[in-house]
């Protein structure tokens, strides 16, 4: 049970829609997708991706050279956006560097550095390029270690890597650490970057669409992969009247299959119900759900069952993956922050690229943006291995 709501006093994002909250907000309001035809090096798959421009030019400072890889560059760009790093510096003065925890979600970290090392290995000796540093790029802790050092924090820090629920679960863990007294505030985040492993990996499971993805769509045929970084500073006291709080969360497992969700979404139902219970809310009090909505036939079908079972069909919901693509380990927090934008700017996003809902699905996802008061929003994230996490955000009265 959440012991008291945690306020998101600052947050930042970077994704295919651009750098910062303003870029994402404008693209959401304009119904303008950030997806583009895949032009990632060495990838010849016919698909669309959510690529962040400018990462190639955004080198790390010399003192962070050993961390250099696409994923950590993206992390840095996210930390510099929206004045986030400055906000954390101020918080560090208030709380102490050792009293702010760091909890970052990622699914592939800097694996692209290893992919590249294999491609450029000496054909005779097999030796890798002398600049290849596995520990500070590929290793899963790399992104958290980089973020921690970039922000000058010395408290507890860990990476959560549970596939597509990673940067939703960071909110739950941060809450628990603060409740336990191991830190007084937390930086939570999610970072995932384009790499061949996920492009070809999802493709091998026939889960990648050759077109812009159509969540809940008739004839939908898979995901588009995106990259993103997003961060939030969580504090027990609000910074301003407008601050949004994490009101509750629910985590569960499917215990069903490694790469297919439970057909009736029972694990997802459990996560949503636990989140409502944690927040002390009834289903009808939720104004909007940002669905996991990956646009695979199986996810959307299973999530449709689950949402209908818990909420019925009378609430506003949509998937925003048509804007950013599926940002995998960064999806949880990216979409959580889209919920915050919805609350702050009083609109529920539609479901971009989908013009016709699958008639077999019963939940009437919004196709177009709708202006409406959103006081309380839920965000769903479900991943391989049957990991489920639902988060609830709202203004605490």
């Amino acid at each position: 049970m959440i012991h008291k709501p945690l306020h998101l006093t600052h947050y930042s994002m970077i994704n295919a829609l651009g750098t910062g909250q303003a870029a994402s907000l404008q693209a959401l309001l304009d119904s303008r997708s950030g997806l583009s035809q895949a032009d990632y090096p060495r990838c010849t798959l016919p698909t669309w991706i959510g690529r962040v421009a400018g990462v190639e030019q955004a080198a790390l400072e010399p003192s962070f050279q050993q961390f250099d890889c696409r994923n950590n560059r993206l992390a840095r760009l996210g930390l510099l956006a929206d004045g986030f790093a400055q906000a954390v510096a101020a918080a560090r003065e208030r709380y102490g560097a050792g009293r702010i925890g760091v909890f970052i979600g990622t699914s592939t970290s800097g694996i692209a550095a290893t992919e590249e090392a294999y491609f450029t290995a000496d054909p005779e000796s097999g030796e890798f390029d002398v600049g290849y540093d596995y520990l500070h790029t590929h290793n899963l802790y790399s992104v958290t270690d980089f973020v921690r050092q970039f922000l000058g924090l010395t408290g507890p820090a860990l990476t959560i890597s549970t596939a597509c629920s990673s940067s939703a679960k960071v909110f739950a863990t941060a809450n628990r650490y603060i409740a336990a007294g191991w830190c007084d505030a937390a930086v939570v985040g999610g970072v995932d970057s384009l790499c061949l492993t996920t492009l070809y990996g999802f493709n091998s499971l026939e889960l990648v669409s050759a077109q812009p993805c159509r969540p809940w769509g008739a004839g939908r045929d898979g995901i588009n992969i995106g990259e993103a970084a997003a961060f939030a500073l969580l504090e027990t006291e609000r910074g301003s009247e407008r601050d949004i709080a994490l009101l509750g969360y629910g985590e569960s497992s499917d215990a069903y299959h490694m790469s297919t969700p439970h057909p009736q979404g029972e694990g997802a139902q459990l996560a949503m119900r636990l989140a409502l219970q944690c927040a002390g809310l009834r289903p009808e009090q939720v104004d909007y759900i940002n669905l996991h909505g990956t646009a695979t036939p199986s996810n959307d079908r299973s999530e449709d069952h689950a949402v209908n079972a818990v909420f019925g069909t009378a609430l506003a919901c949509s998937s925003t993956k048509g804007w950013t693509g599926h940002t995998l380990g960064a999806a949880g927090i990216t979409e959580a922050l889209f919920c915050c934008l919805s609350i702050q700017h009083k609109f529920a996003p539609g479901t971009l690229n989908t013009s016709e809902r699958d008639p077999e699905l019963v939940v009437p996802v919004l196709l177009e943006n709708r202006e409406q008061c959103v006081d309380i929003a839920m965000s769903n994230s479900f991943g391989f291995g049957g990991t489920n996490c639902s988060l609830i955000f709202g203004r605490q009265c």
Partner: protein, 263 residues
């Protein structure tokens, strides 16, 4: 804060299970590294079993070891999986596959590449729909895993299984990471004393270090080969059935002080 231990699992060269390893860890027998015998999960159905990797088998093995003598049911256990490297063997296979024309990554390899793969197989094996988290925290992966597990136990009032496990990096990546030898430890913990609790541990996060139980040179050397082996000073106390205090680094400037008491 306080938590209770209801089960311990251990898998390492020369310490093939908690029962077999206790005498060595208590200092009654010398430590001798022996290669681990092959393992086949008793809980996972055969069609899933044949897809498991070396690392996943290591995690399942230590989980099943911890369940020996645990009075509860695995279906009710929440879990925390902590691995500093994750499955580098799978990553290596995928990277080599990417070098081939058409880059024919196999679906099984891909879903095995997620860091929570072991947790996914464990959920299928145990039937548990409870909260499960998979983390990585470099050299402090055991300490941070323990903190996560304790925090889940306190909040949910459920028993929680912590697994910390790592397998050596495959030859192309050898020596580049945190792991030189396999090691896995599991603790089943609870926020309440109750059936099956035989150790009480008081836990404090602090800046201080304190004196550790003395480990033999061989066990000290083992401790350096794998982040999960950071648990060895704690395991030594548990094995001897003694009260004592252990401190484990849990960050750049913090330690976990664990005050152990048989109960």
């Amino acid at each position: 804060m306080r938590f209770y231990v209801k089960g311990v699992g251990l898998v390492a060269p020369g310490l093939a299970s908690w029962q077999e390893g206790r005498a060595v860890l208590a200092g009654q027998l010398p430590y001798q590294a022996q290669p681990l015998a092959a393992f086949s999960s008793t809980l996972l159905p055969p069609n899933e079993r044949r897809r498991t990797t070396t690392l996943i088998k290591l995690a399942l093995r230590v989980a099943e070891d911890a369940l020996q003598g645990y009075p509860g049911s695995p279906v009710e256990l929440a879990s925390v999986f902590s691995s500093a490297e994750g499955d580098a063997e799978v990553a290596d296979k995928i990277c080599r596959t990417l070098l081939m024309p058409d880059r024919p990554v196999s679906p099984t390899q891909f879903h095995n590449s997620v860091h929570n793969a072991a947790a996914g197989y464990w959920a299928i094996a145990s039937g548990s729909r409870c909260c499960s988290t998979s983390i990585a925290a470099g050299r402090e992966s055991f300490s941070l895993g323990l903190m996560e597990a304790v925090s889940v136990a306190l909040q949910s009032q459920q028993d929680v299984m912590l697994l910390a496990y790592d397998s050596p990096l495959p030859p192309p990546l050898q020596g580049r990471g945190y792991v030189d030898a396999p090691f896995a430890v599991a603790l089943i913990i609870s926020a309440q004393a109750g059936t099956g609790a035989w150790i009480e541990i008081g836990m404090t996060m602090t800046g201080e270090r304190c004196t550790q139980p003395v480990l033999s040179m061989e066990l000290q050397a083992l401790r350096m080969t794998n982040p999960a082996a950071a648990s060895l000073p704690l395991l030594a106390l548990l094995a001897a059935g003694n009260a004592g205090t252990v401190s484990l680094p849990c960050g750049a400037e913090c330690s976990l002080k664990l005050e152990v008491r048989p109960c």
